[in-house]
Symmetry: C3
């Protein structure tokens, strides 16, 4: 599948600068692109690669976007496609050259088990060895891949892609176009026990999990059901691998939760929150909309909207950077303290000797 | 299913204060309870909700329990149930209004595979696509849910609830009433290699895993088999999701291990130890009975019984709080050091100028 | 299965010192060995157990190896086997007394699903409820255990051991003798989205995963496919449980990645890198060959070959040890600062009072 650069410019709604007849045969990163491939420059730190790239053309931001390089600096004749968001345009190009594999054939594999009163809408695919229990509802075109389990009364919207080997326990609700990667578990019991007479007594976990439209959940994640009510993941939120979401957590829309994050019970995240990898969040707090927490941080208190946090325990980002800088020079500061102590002692002696 | 408050008081063995004829239709948290619902107050920080709650009645601790609020402060006529442990009583109320779903029908699904000489006691349920290998023993009423695997010679006690999609490898021993949530893996090989001539040579992992009665293990956990001997999880211990227990770890009874904890090889935990979320514990140490380790801590040395630790590397809890407080004001301390240095230099100059 | 100590010496190529007729019935750790068992001493800190061990003989290093204990210090008549690498020799002894269980019978279980044009070499075993999709290739003697999934066009070399309940998604390439423990997921989509008009747009992940010979991957790991190109795990690398390897990561040969480590996208590890438990590594950096990163560290910058790092953010190991030591005495340092301040103020007052 080949296109001229002019055709690509049209499809990507990008401004063509030079070389419209070049034939584009694929896409690649700026440092790995080969002849005939389209690449992109979104991050100025990769601008150095512009001179050596073998790509046939480069998607670049508008001159006004603050990615500093000059057209004249480019290899003579390297054509450009200008687009307000080169990364997004590149994503579109990727889709053009790598169309998704065709959806699995609608139908239920002969080895799959479908419960009573389960409702399977048009175009649903249920793969080998899946179990879809009683009273489950699967929306139009939803695909359940091999070895996955959907418990009684769970409801999945249209266009979901689940599995293989995913477990959705009873009574969970998923919106449309939810994707859940292998090994993940939705709706396991929240971790709640009442201590009584020296033993831990299990608190029944009778709530559910509600997941909004367009949520994506990575591999080997655990999203627990609520004790009462619902654990909620808002529309458009993306969750990486090996993430722990405890009971009664409420996650807003369009959040980004990177791998190995853990969020404790009943905590609330506003919309567009970003938690970087391995962050831990204590229970029963609120993280305001748009907040960003740096990797490995431990959040022990509520965070205002737009807050930027870092450290364990986490404080304001720039503050933590300063604390770390100071911490990393601590041994020198301690030396200074010792030398000051010595100088003071000498001063005291000198002054004392002057005192009658 | 409705009860009068008087009936609830009897069932929960709580002292009724007012309003015995009120009809209780369910249970809920103090801030979400609606008319007719019973709620509870165990934590004084929620006492503020007492005035606004729409609950029909509140489970409260005895006046002597240090949860400070006055009966007169309550909305006029809000009935109370006094109980020594309101949280535990609430758990009982939850069970009354949300009885567990009926156990799956005894029997082996036609798609399940049962090995030779496997012993299935009365009331055992084995779900679709399960594999129960040769010489396995399943105790009375034990339930193995869809897609789970129980390897040769593993022994499960009575009343266990396993799965779906759990993997129990060969030669593991589980007590009675053990619950293992989906995605967890019991008895994978410990991580052991001998370096020799520049390569890592696998140490055979020929031990097993022994799990005591009433243990609960969350989703996506990994509990490795011992190199030799047994990896042990003691009776009544509760393990949250995504926890790593390495080979030859020995965990005592009634411990609480929160999500994403990792315990390295051969470490021993006494009884009633609590490890909060994302804690890491080095190998070959002992954590004494009743010790508590705060979230994200890294434990590098043995901990005495009753120890309270925090930080990475972890030190005594109150000490770490002080260290953190100091660390968070480090930039100011460094400023102070600089200003002291300046003042000393001035003093030295002043004193020098006075010296003949 | 018993052997004389003389026979063991021959099999292990160890030097026999005394007691060649002793009958060896098994192997065990130095503190748990019983009569008739062979044990080993590799770590001087266990030398104290030499006097009390009930073992029949001990594998020890050469006198020159720096494990300090004297033959005379041993219980009278305790025979020794000297070997340049007692741990490796012990591993061999373990294999002699605990030979691996026989490989599963070659063949495809009747409940397994084999796709079109799948190539199964001689001796392949595919267990119950496995799905092997179209165009998959399985090398000689490879074993796929119950409930595992191998997606279209994936290629596995000879002698692999996969599962149970492992998911290998389409288009992954595994070398020979790769072992993947239960619950792990190879080839899930990398976590990549382009923000555009307030939403996160999924970047198609069209690359694959390439895993070298003799790699072992623990339970519940996630190794994502590349956006374009390949995520690579080099020959001989060993990965513990619950590890996250993001898209386009390149891992060298013979690395050791301990449990719960997370490696972010596009990062490169050289050969023989060790990452201890719960380490996090940022994306787009390089960790040089032979580098060692201590537990719970956060690596935010490239690391030179042979680097030893510790801390979050990680710095040179010895430096971090000093920083921690200083940090742990911070409250005392602050007290010193306060007292210096007081002394300076007094000096200033004294000096001022002397100034006319």
């Amino acid at each position: 599948m080949n296109f001229t650069l002019r055709e690509m410019a049209e499809r990507l709604q990008a401004e063509l600068i030079g070389g419209g007849d070049a034939v584009i045969t694929g896409v690649a990163g700026i440092d790995t692109a080969r002849e005939g491939q389209l690449t992109f420059l979104a991050n100025p730190k990769y601008a150095q690669h512009l001179k050596s790239t073998r790509a046939a053309a480069v998607l670049v931001p508008p001159l006004s976007a603050g990615v500093h390089f000059e057209h004249e600096d480019l290899p003579a004749g390297l054509p450009l496609l200008r687009h307000p968001n080169p990364y997004y345009a590149f994503l579109q190009a990727l889709r053009i050259f790598h169309p998704p594999p065709p959806a699995p054939e609608p139908g239920v594999d002969r080895s799959a088990r479908i419960g009573q009163r389960a409702h399977l809408a048009d175009g649903v695919h249920v793969g080998p060895n899946c179990v879809v229990e009683d009273d489950v509802s699967l929306g139009t075109g939803t695909v359940i891949l091999a070895g996955s389990f959907v418990g009684v009364r769970s409801v999945l919207g249209a266009g979901c892609l689940i599995g293989p080997n995913v477990t959705i326990l009873p009574g969970c609700t998923l919106g449309a176009r939810v994707r859940i990667h292998p090994g993940s578990v939705i709706g396991a019991d929240g971790f709640g026990y009442a201590p009584y007479q020296g033993r831990h007594h299990k608190i029944p976990q009778v709530g559910g999990v509600t997941i909004g439209d367009d949520v994506e959940i990575g591999a080997c994640c655990a999203i627990d059901r609520a004790t009462m009510g619902q654990t909620v993941v808002g529309r458009g939120t993306k969750i990486d691998n090996l993430v722990q979401i405890a009971h009664n957590v409420q996650i807003g829309e369009d959040c980004i939760i990177i791998a190995q994050v853990g969020i404790s019970g009943s905590t609330k995240l506003g919309d567009r929150v970003t938690l970087a990898g391995q962050v831990g969040v204590i229970g029963h707090i609120e993280i305001g909309a748009g907040a960003v927490v740096a990797a490995q941080s431990g959040v022990g208190k509520s965070v205002p909207p737009g807050g930027r946090l870092f450290g364990s325990p986490a404080v304001e980002f720039a503050r933590q950077k300063r604390i770390i800088a100071t911490m990393h020079s601590l041994p020198e500061h301690v030396k200074t303290i010792r030398s000051l102590e010595k100088r003071i002692t000498e001063l005291e002696a000198a002054l004392g000797s002057k005192t009658p």
